[in-house]
């Protein structure tokens, strides 16, 4: 794996569920040795959540695609960290690690004897990330939460939906997938940069909620400075009109159209055969004022059209337009993602060849930007690498490993 940017960085990884594993996946994909610490007694619950290969869990903890996509290129080790012998083994691993990561409720690792203070006794320059839902301290720090409740408490939910309707959010645990993992990975990388310069490690206290609020800065400022709650705006935006999602032919097919410039408006109305609309609503202000009317007109014009053909026609005229792609469209037939190699297929021992996201950027210096250099290994089976890691890094022989396994320490 020489040549990957993070080769030589070792991570003891306690993360589980959504946001944490996507963070450490970024490190693993780029060459860090990420060692997932799990226990069969308290394993990552994503392992038993759908989707499963062929829709069947089949009594296995290794068939979840939700788990797999968040854990490419990692090693899987089972250790019972509620057993003092397990804690000792993990501390030996931390002593050889550059980074420790956790998204347990802050304080959990400390209570187990694996907190930052203990970790830096065995590894003084360790970078130690805790990513609690609302951070490591404060009156709400111990509250349990998930992506949807983070969406609610941060304002994302409030700002997503149609005016006057029930807030609708993104339909996903959005902060788990972008805000928290991207900021967390960035935080760890900056701390590694700092360590290069100073030799010092540090503790990172990341609040998943705060990372999401940081993505809503303009809405916060509209309140703090102008005293206004922008509220949900549906698909509209100040910088484009008309902008919306319009029906197309087919079952639940839609096209997003966004008109930023007057020229785009002229071309759109020409392409749709309604040039008179261009003259009637010549500028952005006029189009905003008539937005409801224009939405209704456009919906009538798009409703019978084949969506992909319409997208190609409008794009050819320089109009920002896109079919609302389903994930079936993207996996099966999106020529752009295919060209870029965004979906990597990795052969998993129980799931067979399965689709994973590649990172959303290509490092053109890494093997010529080849996704294959990044997407190397499928998600680990539960405990798949316990023996290998205990032997290589902890110096345990087979007999000791067998004994610790039998005692439930390595389980």
């Amino acid at each position: 794996m020489a040549g990957l940017p993070l080769t030589g960085i070792r991570v003891t990884d306690f993360t589980w569920l959504g946001a944490g594993p996507y963070t450490t996946r970024t490190l693993a994909d780029h060459g860090a040795e990420v060692i997932r610490i799990e226990s069969a007694k308290r394993m990552d619950r994503l392992r038993i959540l759908p989707p499963f290969r062929d829709g069947k869990r089949a009594g296995s903890v290794n068939r979840s695609g939700y788990f797999a996509d968040r854990n490419s290129n990692k090693l899987g080790v089972t250790v019972n960290i509620k057993d003092p012998a397990g804690v000792d083994l993990v501390l030996k691993l931390i002593a050889q690690s550059d980074v420790v990561t956790s998204n347990f409720t802050p304080g959990t690792l400390t209570n187990l004897g694996l907190g930052y203070d203990r970790a830096r006794e065995v590894r003084p320059d360790v970078v130690f990330l805790e990513m609690g839902m609302q951070g490591a301290y404060g009156p709400d720090a111990s509250l349990v939460g998930y992506g949807q409740t983070v969406s609610a408490v941060t304002g994302l939910y409030h700002l997503s939906g149609l005016p006057g309707e029930v807030p609708v959010g993104t339909g996903t645990n959005y902060p788990d997938h972008i805000a928290a993992p991207a900021h967390s990975a960035f935080a760890v990388l900056t701390a590694l940069w700092h360590r290069r310069r100073t030799g010092e490690g540090q503790y990172i206290d990341l609040s998943q909620a705060e990372t999401m609020v940081s993505l809503l800065g303009p809405a916060v400022l509209d309140h703090t400075v102008n005293g206004r709650d922008p509220g949900p705006r549906g698909n509209r935006a100040e910088y484009a009109a008309p902008q919306g999602v319009y029906p197309c032919a087919g079952d639940d097919r839609w096209i997003a159209i966004s008109v930023v410039t007057d020229e785009q408006w002229t071309r759109l109305t020409d392409e749709l055969g309604v040039p008179e609309l261009a003259a009637r609503y010549p500028d952005l202000a006029a189009r905003h004022a008539a937005h409801d009317t224009l939405d209704a007109e456009l919906a009538l014009l798009t409703g019978a059209q084949e969506p992909f053909e319409l997208m190609r026609r409008l794009q050819k005229r320089g109009v920002p337009a896109a079919v609302v792609h389903t994930f079936g469209d993207l996996v099966d037939s999106d020529p752009q993602l295919r060209h870029r190699g965004h979906f990597a297929v990795l052969d998993h021992p129980e799931m067979g060849p399965s689709v994973y996201n590649a990172p959303p950027y290509r490092l053109r210096g890494v093997a010529g930007g080849d996704v294959g250099a990044i997407m190397r290994r499928p998600a680990p089976l539960l405990g798949e690498h316990t023996r290998e890691v205990c032997s290589r890094l902890l110096g345990l022989d087979d007999a000791s490993i067998d004994e610790l396994t039998e005692q439930g320490v390595l389980a």
């Binding site: 940017p5 959504g18 759908p50 989707p51 996509d69 404060g138 009156p139 939460g145 949807q148 609610a152 994302l156 149609l162 807030p167 609708v168 959010g169 993104t170 339909g171 996903t172 959005y174 991207a182 900021h183 960035f186 990388l189 900056t190 701390a191 940069w193 490690g201 990172i204 909620a209 609020v213 800065g217 916060v220 400022l221 509209d222 703090t224 400075v225 102008n226 949900p232 999602v245 997003a256 966004s258 920002p320 079919v323 792609h325 389903t326 994930f327 469209d329 993207l330 752009q336 060209h339 870029r340 965004h342 799931m351 399965s354 996201n357 990172p359 959303p360 490092l363 210096g365 930007g369």
Partner: protein
């Protein structure tokens, strides 16, 4: 040597950012964490300067609040890259920087200006050039026109957002552009660490479409493994006690089943509040997910829960939920955030001067706390061209023109 003044972890990292909507958040993350980010703006100003919200709703180059937010700690240099002399300035600045961040989203525009990575790297082999574009630097859609909404559609997330029986609805706040910016910052740091270790820079080619795809949750695998295409299902409870519930002054999100197994805590709480019918929720039928997800099940739960919720504010419900350790959160507005005791206890919001108006702007502060390399109090976003003379002077003082 470490100084006593907080400087952030990236002190010493030099970044040349070409202003644009796809890269501005990456530049902010780098600048706020201590990098010296020089924002290269055209004479007409960064595109963000013409986007709101505006101070007192008055548009103007120094009045954009979103510009003030996305450009804290940056310095501004005005360069007209259509002019040979300014291109020469740019090239000399790039010779002495660690990162060029092109956030314009305009595919190939640096190459067309004769300022592509290969040209710049000839003078500076360690250079990392991060190019953030809507669909990536190449491919059949590379030249497609886009906005945030179009990227949400092309990245698939729009298919999951919105009301079950209505149109797809995007996430609030231009999250596609921001997703691209966040991953651009991550990719930049990975490449910068490698360049620092090996002396070899490279291009980081970021696709906003792919950044949005990352938000699919498990929809890609549902399709790949089970041949199920996920669709939007918002605006309704997923099952009893999972979803948005109205209360006295707004809504709360309750998650007491599914991922979280908090049903018993929920029922005990409702009983302790003497909610009529609460004890009926102890019936074993509620542990059956099929019943809990059925219309009658959802309606029956809503009726019982509303007896409490409609008589409580979201803040009261949140406080009670914290006591019984139940995942229930208020659907907060910006006003709620600014009043949040949790965010206040963590000094999350920060006050930044706005020199053009003499006002102070309260905005989100650091998104995480680096206890060993804390960041400095933020400097305001620059005025257009504020640092042009100072930055170009360093060129003339460090070498021949």
């Amino acid at each position: 040597m470490p100084s006593d003044q907080p400087r952030g972890p990236l002190a010493g990292l030099r970044v040349l950012e070409i202003s644009g909507l796809l890269g501005e958040y990456a530049g902010k993350l780098l600048a706020d964490h201590g990098a010296d980010v020089v924002l290269v703006e055209p004479p007409t100003g960064a595109p963000r300067r013409s986007l709101g919200p505006f101070l007192d709703d008055q548009p103007g180059q120094e009045n954009s609040l979103s510009f003030a937010y996305y450009n804290t700690n940056k310095r501004s240099v005005t360069l007209d890259l259509t002019q040979e002399q300014d291109r020469a300035h740019f090239r000399r600045l790039a010779a002495d920087t660690d990162v060029v961040l092109d956030g314009t989203g305009d595919v190939g525009h640096l190459d067309r200006l004769g300022l592509g990575h290969d040209v710049l790297a000839a003078d500076n082999p360690k250079l990392v050039t991060t190019v953030v574009t809507p669909f990536g630097a190449d491919g059949p859609y590379a030249d497609y026109e886009s906005t945030d909404l179009v990227l949400m559609a092309m990245g698939g997330l729009l298919s999951l957002g919105g009301y079950a029986d209505g149109i797809p609805v995007r996430a609030g706040g231009d999250q596609a552009w921001l997703a691209a910016g966040q991953f651009a910052a991550v990719g930049t740091m990975i490449a910068a660490l490698q360049a620092d270790a090996t002396g070899q820079g490279q291009v980081v080619d970021v696709s906003a479409q792919e950044a949005v795809v990352m938000a699919h949750e498990n929809a890609v695998q549902f399709y790949d493994l089970e041949h199920v295409v996920k669709h939007r299902n918002g605006g309704q409870a997923r099952q009893a006690a999972v979803g948005v519930y109205p209360c006295q002054d707004g809504h709360v999100y309750l998650l007491a089943k599914g991922l979280g197994v908090f049903w018993d805590e929920l029922v005990s709480w409702l009983e302790s509040e003497h909610v009529e019918g609460a004890s009926s929720l102890r019936d074993p039928k509620w542990k059956d997910d099929d019943f809990a997800a059925s219309e009658p099940g959802k309606a029956e739960f809503l009726e019982i829960f509303s007896r409490l919720a409609l008589n409580r504010t979201k803040a009261q419900l949140y406080e009670a939920a914290k006591r019984v350790r139940l995942p229930l959160c208020p659907i907060n507005t910006a006003a709620d955030l600014v009043a949040s005791p949790q965010l206040a206890a963590r000094d999350y919001f920060t006050d930044v001067e706005h020199p053009a108006s003499g006002r102070t702007l309260r905005m989100p502060g650091a998104p995480f706390k680096l206890t060993g390399s804390p960041i400095a109090p933020p400097r305001p976003a620059p005025r257009l061209g504020e640092h042009t003379a100072a930055v170009l002077d360093t060129l003339t003082s460090t070498g021949a023109q």
